[in-house]
């Protein structure tokens, strides 16, 4: 554990070297941002049609692709549960699909280790499309409506929004590693 003693008399330059990121923030930020994104997807407007991209899922994919190994393979279980609480999907839908997505990303990463952002975008777009269609089919089993025309706008919007979300996650990552605590 890093000693949490603030250093009083240090110049700006030396402070940069003697400070370390907060371990709490470093580990909590990805989980917190994904859960908050799940909540935010339901907040901005009470729409009468599904149009909002599944923000929680997008942020999960972004974290996973930005930092392979930061979230464990089983992260889909608790985070999918939180998403189920607010998404309106039948309970278990998020746990199932998010867990599968985490394993799928692991396989993709192992199979094709050489990637750039456009490939990551394509992978994410494919996963998002699959996720939205499977989620809609699950919702249909629980009594929801389903036509391809109904989810098509949401599908396109989500795929296009992915780079923006990835950018936001990169911001959150730099916040995650903010150097707070001084040592030495």
């Amino acid at each position: 554990m890093i000693p949490l003693v603030p250093r009083k008399s240090a110049g700006k330059r030396s402070r940069r070297f003697t400070r370390a990121p907060s371990p709490v923030l470093a580990y909590l930020t990805p989980w917190a941002t994904i859960a908050i994104a799940s909540y935010i997807a339901s907040m901005p407007t009470a729409t009468s049609a599904p149009l909002m991209p599944p923000l929680g899922f997008l942020v999960l994919l972004s974290w996973r692709q930005l930092h392979p190994g930061l979230l464990p393979v089983w992260a889909g279980l608790p985070l999918g549960f939180v998403d189920d609480l607010v998404s309106g999907q039948p309970m278990g839908s998020g746990i199932l699909t998010w867990s599968i997505a985490m394993i799928a990303l692991d396989v993709i990463e192992f199979r094709w280790p050489w990637r750039n952002f456009s490939i990551e975008w394509a992978v994410a777009a494919g996963l998002i499309a699959t996720y939205i269609i499977i989620a809609a089919l699950i919702a249909q089993m629980a009594g929801g409506g389903f036509t391809l025309l109904l989810i098509l706008p949401q599908l396109i919007l989500s795929a296009l929004l992915y780079p923006v979300v990835a950018r936001g996650v990169a911001r959150a990552d730099s916040f995650r590693l903010t150097r707070f605590w001084a040592f030495g």
């Binding site: 997807a41 407007t45 009470a46 599904p50 309106g88 089993m141 929801g144 389903f146 989810i151």
Partner: protein, 321 residues
């Protein structure tokens, strides 16, 4: 640069084990998700407590966002108002002049209506809202259409109660938390509301299509008598929804009914009121219906089997008008 693969754990036993158990937990998540999903598909209310708790926590933020949203939309209309105020002012003046005449006519009709109702020994039933609150969230990314209101058990809200906005019916309460409640919107595919045409009382069923419109299905099999622009109100058949609550306006015709646009679009209704359930049996002025089971207005799922008695009820609904 190829990222370092997490699978190569090296010689560290600890890293090997934690990686291995991570994968086991990952696949356990898949199996658990499948089990929970199958459980919740057979029992919808299974995790109601967890959902209610989650929405209770989010109520303060939701209210803040809802308030900002209302303010933001006002800013837009205020700005737009500067550009159209001249023509709008003239149009409003004409409307007010016409409206005054109509008001006098309406007062006369209301008086006549009251006298006729007194002749028929009908009592005026006006639902008093149980509580009013904000529409703070909706399931905007799912094909299921649920919304959350910022009032719950503490305000007297119960499962099955209709939720209305000033423009018409929004939906009905399906889950109740302490300070929030989950509302099944009219446009959800699971929602079915018995309706009648406002002008002549043709009975129909309005079921959601999950895209902001309703499918109207007529009960009578004849030439489609509907026209674009026909307004539909709740008929009150089977209880639950108060007769006369505005529902939808026909937008396009189909061969056996019509597609209708919901009047109380949840996107523009910020404030909603929760009404008590309408229970036709409690209204002594109405004729008793055959069999107590046909009027299960207190049951949350009554809409699904209200079809058996809709004809008898819609006739009583017409009397009520």
């Amino acid at each position: 640069m190829a990222p370092k693969s997490k699978r190569r754990t090296g010689y560290s036993r600890r890293a090997q084990y934690s990686d291995f158990f991570g994968y086991i937990a990952g696949f356990a998540g898949v199996l658990l998700g499948l089990a929970v999903l199958l459980g919740s598909l057979s029992n919808h209310a299974g995790f109601a407590w967890a959902r209610s708790a989650a929405s209770d926590i989010a109520v303060p933020i939701g209210r803040l966002v809802a308030g900002t949203r209302a303010g933001a939309s006002n800013v837009g209309s205020t700005l737009a108002g500067y550009f159209v105020w001249g023509s709008e002012n003239a149009a409003l003046r004409r409307e007010v002049a016409a409206g005054r005449v109509r008001q006098v006519q309406m007062a006369g009709m209301a008086d006549e209506n009251r006298r006729l109702k007194a002749l028929l020994h009908l009592t005026q039933t006006d639902p008093k809202p149980i509580a009013t609150g904000w529409l703070i969230a909706s399931t905007a990314s799912s094909t299921r259409r649920y919304a959350t209101v910022s009032i719950g058990r503490m305000s007297g809200v119960g499962v099955g109660m209709p939720v209305v906005s000033p423009l018409g019916l929004v939906g009905r309460v399906v889950e109740v938390g302490q300070v929030s409640a989950r509302v099944l919107l009219l446009t959800d595919a699971e929602s079915v509301v018995p309706v009648r045409r406002a002008s002549d009382g043709i009975p129909a069923f309005a079921s959601g299509r999950a895209d902001g419109t309703l499918q109207l299905r007529l009960l009578t099999l004849a030439v489609n008598p509907l026209h674009i622009g026909d307004a539909f109100v709740a008929s009150g058949s089977g209880g639950l929804y108060w007769p006369g609550t505005p529902i939808a306006v026909v937008a396009s015709l189909t061969h056996d009914g019509a597609i209708a646009r919901v009047l109380a679009d949840p996107g523009v209704s910020e404030m909603v009121a929760v009404q008590p359930e309408w229970n036709p049996v409690a209204d002594a002025s109405l004729a008793p219906v055959d069999g107590a089971a046909s009027v299960s207005g207190s049951s949350a799922s009554s809409h699904s089997h209200s079809g058996h008695t809709s004809s008898s009820h819609s006739s009583s609904g017409k009397h009520h008008q």
